[in-house]
């Protein structure tokens, strides 16, 4: 970024600079957990949180047939029509919850990896974790396995891949740069195995696998939502606790090494949590694109360098992105439902490009 001798001389330039008004960090405490959050982050987070709730409520009202919000709430409280209550509880609520959780998990995972390795192209899709899930799931789909086993198998695939990457990276410690290059190598192998499967099997089965690979919320139920929620209840607090150490790790590998074995432990735990978040999301909905790679950038363009607060903002943005995308996926070409992963980029990219064009705060 260029440094002007007198930045204030150009008001257009000055107005977009971070820190033009002294930022007073607030300390948010919740259940023994405290986060320092700038006012800007807090404001953006609140706005996005409202958007998440609004989008989720709206999504409950649409589907094969529309149900007004009031009727929906009545049904939820047990005062409304039985069939509405059934649709709400059995079909729409789990789908919305899966959408929220998947967006949250992917975006936080991406933010963790980008925070740890200072490179804008790093995310769980780049370093092979999603590909690990994909190989297993695609193989099971083309060989005709029961669809019930696929989420668990995909989760195992992602976690095993993460451990392989970790083990291959470990040399008296984990250096971020090494992790990424090893991850890219592993990703290349796994992705080419997926390609191999897609050209070797009959096109009908491959077509189903492509649907999974595109990232879809079709037919997601409580069997998807419950493990997702349980996993997030463990991983999200862990991510927030660890995020306080991110700043030290961001100073670079050498500086972080100076901090000693504790930094190494934190780094390992962060990789574990980041990989776990990605694995959880991919198991529930397939590798939904764009969210993990790009949402953290959006969060940083709004609120500055990665902190615990920006991590939360990133997660909320991911959740709203996936829910809004699913609303569009269901309603844009009704009765045809698109996979949500096809829509996430279409919805998120214009906003990202708008921020990229408007802002000179491109963080790496």
């Amino acid at each position: 970024m260029s440094t002007d001798a007198n930045p204030i001389a150009d008001p257009a330039l000055a107005s977009s600079r971070p820190g033009r008004r002294p930022a007073i960090p607030l300390v948010v405490r919740l259940a023994g957990l405290s986060l320092k959050v700038s006012r800007r982050t807090l404001g953006a987070g609140a706005a996005v949180a409202i958007a998440v709730v609004a989008a989720a409520l709206y999504q409950l009202t649409i589907g094969e047939y529309a149900i007004a919000l009031g009727e929906m709430l009545d049904a939820a409280l047990g005062r409304g029509r039985e069939d509405f209550a059934f649709v709400l509880r059995g079909i729409r609520l789990p789908r919305v919850l899966v959408a929220l959780g998947v967006g949250l998990a992917l975006a936080m995972s991406g933010a963790i990896f980008q925070g740890m390795v200072r490179n804008p192209l790093v995310s769980p899709d780049i370093i092979g974790i999603n590909a690990g899930a994909s190989v297993v799931a695609v193989f099971l789909i083309v060989t005709g396995s029961r669809s019930a086993v696929i989420p668990a198998a995909a989760f195992v695939g992602a976690v095993v891949t993460a451990f392989v990457i970790y083990a291959l990276t470990w040399r008296k410690g984990i250096a971020g740069n090494r992790l990424v290059l090893v991850g890219i190598g592993v990703n290349a192998i796994l992705t080419s195995l997926v390609t191999l499967i897609t050209v070797r099997y009959p096109v009908q089965q491959v077509s189903e696998a492509v649907l999974w690979l595109s990232g879809s919320l079709h037919g997601r139920q409580w069997t998807h939502a419950v493990p997702l929620a349980g996993s997030l209840l463990v991983l999200v607090p862990a991510a927030l606790v660890l995020s306080r150490q991110l700043k030290a790790l961001q100073l670079g590998d050498d500086a972080a090494r100076g901090l000693g074995a504790r930094a190494e432990l934190v780094r390992s735990l962060l990789i574990l949590v980041g990989a776990g978040l990605a694995a959880t999301a991919v198991a529930a909905a397939g590798p939904v694109g764009f969210v993990a790679l790009m949402t953290p950038h959006i969060a940083r363009m709004i609120a500055g360098p990665l902190t615990g607060g920006v991590l939360v903002l990133s997660g909320l943005l991911g959740a709203v992105l996936v829910v809004v995308s699913d609303i569009i996926a269901v309603s844009a070409f009704a009765p045809i439902t698109l996979p949500v992963g096809v829509v996430t980029a279409a919805v998120g990219a214009p906003y990202f490009l708008y921020l990229l064009v408007r802002s000179d705060r491109v963080t790496s």
Partner: protein, 353 residues
């Protein structure tokens, strides 16, 4: 070629080797790489569903007798395929090296700047809407899509207040790639027949490529490689940072423009000839850099020799590894090349990510 015996700039860090012995080793290494490349060319001409003796291959090249089946196989199938493989391998590796220098991002490769995705977008759309059926029909769509994708990325990165800095380029490339990919996925989910037709092309393959395809893309590849070798010195200065490069009297805009043209010519030409082959452009410059150091004049020259080795070895393996079918070259490049990259990352300090 700009890579003369002149002392490389970074020799302070190179220990006791004097600049001239260092340079001598590099020339020797380059000759060795070219020797290995010739061996892989011979292997690629000999190996396949019909194995051929080297003498037969030489006969077919020198004194072709079109009444012999073996000679028809060599001249009609293996020679064009091998030439396309050499061209594509050199193009991808050099394009990757140039991109890593231009963007100062070691994760940059031709698939990042929207080039492969742009090409795939154009081809899949052409198949879906216009019913184009053969790899010959794909060539110009792929090339147009590659160029269009690159231009779009550049325009997006240049809009607004900031200039097209490396970070902006990389981000714009990644986001437009995501957009193109989501469009492709939508078409493949909607249309099973499109999926059935393009999945082999999307895997990246040299199979069935003839002299006509080679002669279409050859001029693009030649111009691209020559231009790339001419800007090696400028990339060296740029890799020290923009401010340093500017203070050394570099015209950064010009270097960027030439570099971007190089990448479009090379990556566009190779995706037109062989489909999107990933990983070569990413991995080969890293592998080469570990051997010859940070001087881009040498890196690019080595890339032009080592890229084809990787692609030809992968293609030749793919022909014999799973008979009676073939495994696409794009699949094998990753499986063969990735362990090198992983070993490299494990073996030494990898700086500057």
């Amino acid at each position: 070629m700009t890579a003369t015996a002149q002392a490389p700039t970074g020799n302070l860090a190179e220990g006791s080797l004097t600049p001239s012995t260092r340079s001598g080793w590099r020339w020797a290494g380059l000759l060795l790489a070219i020797g290995v490349l010739l061996l892989t060319v011979a292997g690629s001409l000999r190996v396949g569903s019909v194995g051929l003796e080297l003498g037969t291959v030489v006969d077919a090249l020198v004194r072709p007798d079109m009444s012999l089946n073996e000679h028809i196989i060599v001249r009609g199938l293996r020679l064009p395929r091998t030439l396309v493989g050499v061209g594509v391998g050199a193009a991808l590796a050099v394009a990757g090296g140039v991109m890593q220098g231009l963007t100062r991002n070691p994760l940059a490769d031709p698939s990042i700047l929207g080039i492969n995705a742009g090409a795939a977008f154009a081809v899949v759309t052409a198949v879906f809407l216009l019913g184009v059926v053969s790899p010959f029909g794909y060539v110009w769509f792929a090339f147009g899509g590659a160029a269009g994708g690159a231009i779009l990325v550049y325009v997006v990165a240049s809009l607004g207040r900031g200039r097209a800095t490396p970070v902006r380029l990389v981000l714009a490339g990644a986001v437009l790639t995501a957009l193109f990919t989501s469009w492709i996925t939508a078409l493949l989910v909607l249309s099973q027949s499109t999926l059935d037709q393009v999945r082999f092309w999307l895997a990246g393959s040299l199979s069935g490529r003839d002299m006509e395809i080679f002669s279409i893309v050859l001029p693009f590849l030649l111009v691209g490689v020559v231009l790339a070798l001419l800007i090696g010195k400028e990339l060296n200065a740029l890799s020290l940072g923009e401010d340093v490069a500017r203070s050394l009297g570099q015209r950064i805009g010009l270097v960027r423009g030439v570099g971007a043209t190089v990448v479009v010519l090379l990556a566009g030409g190779s995706v037109a000839a062989a489909g999107p082959i990933g990983f070569v452009g990413l991995a080969v410059p890293h592998i080469v850099r570990a051997a010859v150091g940070p001087d881009y004049r040498w890196i690019l020259a080595y890339c032009a020799a080592v890229g084809p080795i990787l692609v030809l070895v992968a293609d030749t393996l793919g022909r014999v590894i799973a008979p009676p079918g073939e495994v696409q070259v794009g699949v094998i490049t990753a499986i063969v090349g990735a362990p090198f990259l992983i070993q490299l990352a494990r073996g030494r300090r990898v700086g500057g990510l």
